[in-house]
């Protein structure tokens, strides 16, 4: 871990000894368009994939959080994508998103999901939503189990409707779990790699930061510069996590 900070100050290509360059790597990144674009691509992916995934997961979890016959089976349908690997899923979604694939044909669309700058990022986001919803459903369900059922019954007796029950009972009680979900979503969003590699190989504005690091470090053998990106990434994630936890804790009081 400390070594990554150390390496970020060097020009290093594995074979020759590292050469000290000070902050040059960081300065280069500051002005590198490709790095800026990859950063933008990561932020876009995070928002376009994880915001809908988390909201959808919350809805599904609220729906599943009752005892009904067959709900175990329904859960399975949502959880199954979580138990699959990103690369295999992305291979399948290449076909789903094919111009004559399942998505376009079933909805009567004519979108070039993976081969145009305007829609490729949405195609990747759709894949990620499908893959990740179940993960957050599991976590929300675990959080909802801590909400005592009697509270709802008491509120119903007092004449509270479904919405106000959600607003005044569920929402405050799932706040801690929402903080955890938010942090996990940010981290998972920035870890994105496989879907982008398989679906577009980073073309059409889908080269996320991780793919940028990979290409910088291993295709162009610039370990020092890649380390500098990793350092920035780490600082960003640490700040985001802390800030999120802080905000949620404050509104808790």
């Amino acid at each position: 871990m400390l070594r990554v900070f150390y390496l970020s100050l060097f020009d290093y290509d594995l074979t020759s000894p590292p050469k000290y360059v000070g902050l040059a790597n960081f300065k280069f990144l500051l002005h590198d368009d490709r790095f800026h674009q990859s950063f933008g691509a990561s932020i876009f992916f995070l928002l376009a994939a994880y915001v809908p995934a988390v909201l959808l997961a919350l809805l599904i979890a609220l729906g599943l959080n009752t005892r009904m016959r067959g709900s175990g089976l329904v859960r399975l349908l949502y959880f199954a994508p979580v138990a699959t690997s990103w690369v295999a899923v992305s291979v399948i979604w290449r076909l789903v998103l094919h111009p004559n694939g399942a998505l376009n044909e079933s909805l009567g669309l004519h979108v070039n999901w993976l081969t145009s700058t305007s829609s490729a990022k949405w195609g990747v986001a759709l894949t990620a939503i499908w893959k990740e919803v179940g993960f957050f459903v599991i976590i929300f369900l675990a959080g909802l189990q801590n909400v005592p059922r009697e509270l709802y019954e008491a509120a119903s007796l007092d004449g509270a409707g479904a919405f106000s029950r959600f607003r005044y009972i569920t929402l405050p009680l799932i706040k801690p779990i929402s903080a955890v979900v938010a942090v996990m979503a940010v981290i998972r969003g920035f870890q994105a790699f496989s879907a982008q590699v398989v679906l577009t190989d980073g073309s059409f504005n889908t080269e996320v930061v991780n793919l940028f690091i990979y290409k910088t470090a291993f295709a162009s053998a610039r370990m020092g510069r890649a380390s500098a990106v990793a350092v920035l990434m780490f600082l960003l994630l640490a700040v985001v996590s802390l800030a999120q936890l802080r905000v949620l804790r404050r509104s808790d009081r």
Partner: protein
């Protein structure tokens, strides 16, 4: 609408949504067995079921090799993790020594750091050790996990000290105590850990891509991605669908059989419970 009808309506909506989710799997299987000219377009049902398409990945690429590599690496990494995390967890939970809390804090701190941040220097280290394109490079760096150590420590706190002291008085060595007294009580967390690690490893793509780029060491995710890059045309679709389905089958089956443990594992990553 009565409350009962409302519950039923909600059930139907959730079921429909779930079926849409699962339809992607069905679509993949149908596409894998269709004749090539029926895959794209509106024809959902194959005119002819070509189950033999599932042999295509083995004929056109070293798919069996990738598969075997994934199994070998997955099982080794899982076993190593269960052993190292149990040992470390036992030490952190049941022994008092100088620096224990500092050490444990360091372990927890690494929990926060995603692999992506450290893999450049990690690769440089593995490169120096000559482990590039070797199973050692694939397995050893993943041999333990902060999450696993944390989980095993938390679980072992519940083992009563009296039980361990009694075994010590009876003259049992520490490893013997761990094996015969503590481990049998830890079967459940160990199983959850094993399942979690195996699944994570099966999905692992970035690290194997760095350290194992030759065919002899490629794991499934790396191999599959390479096959995809070679099969971009529509004639390669049956091969790729068959390969993807075969690749996701083991973890999907594990999930179906061990649902509860799986949910437990995911929940633990969120630190609830």
């Amino acid at each position: 609408m009565s409350a009962r009808q409302r519950t039923f309506a909600r059930f139907l909506v959730l079921l429909a949504g779930g079926l849409i989710f699962a339809s992607v799997f069905a679509y993949a299987v149908l596409s894998a067995v269709k004749p090539p000219d029926e895959i794209l377009g509106t024809k959902l049902w194959p005119s002819e079921w070509r189950w033999s398409n599932f042999t295509l990945p083995f004929k056109t690429a070293p798919f069996a090799r990738y598969y075997l590599n994934s199994v070998v690496v997955g099982v080794s990494v899982t076993l190593l993790n269960v052993i190292t995390c149990t040992l470390a967890g036992y030490s952190f939970a049941k022994f008092d020594y100088r620096g224990r809390n500092v050490l444990f804090f360091l372990v927890l701190a690494t929990l926060m750091i995603p692999l992506e941040v450290i893999y450049v220097p990690l690769y440089a280290l593995v490169f120096k050790l000559g482990w590039v394109n070797s199973f050692a490079g694939l397995i050893i760096p993943s041999g333990t996990s902060a999450f696993g150590i944390f989980l095993m420590r938390q679980s072992m706190e519940s083992v009563p000290d009296e039980l361990i002291d009694a075994a010590r008085i009876d003259g049992a060595g520490e490893l013997r105590i761990l094996r015969s007294v503590v481990a049998p009580m830890m079967v459940s967390p160990m199983a959850a850990l094993a399942l979690f690690i195996f699944m994570a490893n099966w999905d692992s793509h970035l690290w194997p891509l760095l350290v194992a780029s030759d065919d002899a060491h490629r794991t499934l995710p790396v191999g599959l991605a390479a096959m995809q890059a070679n099969n971009l045309g529509s004639s390669g679709i049956p091969t790729m669908m068959a390969a993807a389905i075969l690749a996701l089958l083991p973890t999907l089956v594990l999930f179906l059989v061990l649902q509860r443990k799986f949910v437990e594992g995911v929940t633990m990553t969120a630190g609830i419970k």
